[in-house]
Amino acid sequence: MPAVSNRPGITGTLLVIGAVTVQLLLEVTLGRVFRAPNVLALVLTYLSINYGNVWSIDSAFWAGVTLDLLLHQPLGASSLGLLAGLQASRLLIAAAPGGNRMTKVLSGAFAGLVYDVVFLLAASRPFLHGLGSHVLPVAARLLMTLVAGILFISVATALSSLRVRGRNEAV
């Protein structure tokens, strides 16, 4: 699916702010080390597909910085992870042109997976020494992200069909 380079406006901004807030609340309540689904990666992938890379890259950077500051994580680790994840998901989508909704969910989950690995490497001390037993929760988080993505897509599809049916009935 080719990326569309239009500006999302206030809706996109609100979407990113909402995603950061939800991610923050999830991480704080469920535990910060990969216990919550990566909602932010899903939303940024969604933005990348629908509004183009430029806006989603900006969002990924600033959302990552905000999340790092709020969660007292090493500054720049989340933004680097989100940028890498976004790039990876873009490559995945490019490799599977004309993909369906499941491809979007999978690319979002893949972005989350890449984000987690990059985050582990970047936030670890000494630098780049994070791959160890910490990798294990990443798989569980990947599953949670997939489930969240499927739920998100299902709800969005249901709402969309309801809207289309309502419009048809009105016509």
């Binding site: 890259i57 990924a60 910085v65 500054l75 940028l83 970047a122």
Partner: protein, 257 residues
């Protein structure tokens, strides 16, 4: 969607932000710390005004002054503790007492004398008793107007009538063969190591009950039937700096001047 240079759109931006993230990752803690300190300093200037440098100089001076004052007070507190201990001795006596400082010693520690900074002007006279917080020190042998000479127990010329507690053995304490010894102890009285040695009431010069030391061993004294005992003095004569002198006058009990 390709950009003008043939790269995918957003590629340059991606690398730019990735580099920024890496820089943040490396310099983040320093940046946050430095910016935080700078912001805090500016905020303090804004709120407290520009006098902070002058105030800090004044505060530094005050700290130095207070440190000096604190050191002086500590020294005075130590002296007060010592005088309080000395005063404790005089409470059991009905004699007037004055505190004195040891100025110097003459002719070595064992056979020599100690010179203190109190003399006849202060009421000190020959045969006045000299004490320390730990026990009996000696007796005043000569007296100037402002200084006095004290003969310590460790001098061979000193004889003290003493008794042991709790055994009650009596004898004459003197310095002999390099140690303090009680001579002529009645063998029927069971003096033993660990007994306290105090002045007896039969001496005439020394008031009774002043601690002298502790018995460390009891020996048979040569040909006579009487026993002798070796005594460790209670006072550490080497580190003696301040003493108290019991005056002969019996007014103002327990007062320290």
């Amino acid at each position: 969607m390709p950009s003008r240079k043939g790269l995918p759109r957003g590629s340059g931006r991606f690398w730019k932000y990735s580099l920024a993230s890496l820089l943040l990752l490396i310099l983040g803690p320093t940046l946050l710390g430095g910016v935080g300190s700078w912001a805090a300093a500016r905020f303090a200037d804004l709120v407290l005004g520009h006098n902070s440098k002058r105030d800090s100089e004044e505060l530094r001076t005050q700290i130095v002054e207070l440190m000096l004052e604190n050191a002086s007070l500590r020294e005075q507190a130590m002296k007060a503790d010592r005088y309080r201990l000395l005063l404790g001795w005089t409470r059991v006596s009905s004699r007037r007492a004055i505190a004195a400082r040891v100025l110097y010693r003459t002719e070595g520690l064992i056979s020599g004398t100690m010179v203190v900074d109190r003399g006849s002007d202060d009421g000190v006279s020959v045969n006045s008793i000299c004490l320390a917080p730990d026990g009996l020190v000696g007796v005043v042998t000569s007296c100037g107007e402002a200084t006095s000479e004290i003969l310590p127990l460790t001098s061979p010329q000193v004889r003290v009538s003493c008794t042991t507690r709790p055994s009650g053995a009596m004898g004459m304490l003197q310095f002999e063969r390099g140690s303090l010894r009680i001579m002529n102890i009645d063998p029927t009285l069971d003096a033993k190591p660990g007994d306290e040695v105090v002045t007896s009431r039969f001496g005439g010069v020394y008031p009774d009950g002043l601690l002298i030391g502790t018995v460390v061993s009891v020996d048979e004294s040569g040909s006579s039937l009487a026993l002798s005992a070796t005594v460790t003095p209670a006072v550490d004569f080497e580190s003696l700096g301040e003493v108290i002198i019991l005056l002969k006058d019996s007014t103002d009990a327990g007062r320290i001047e």
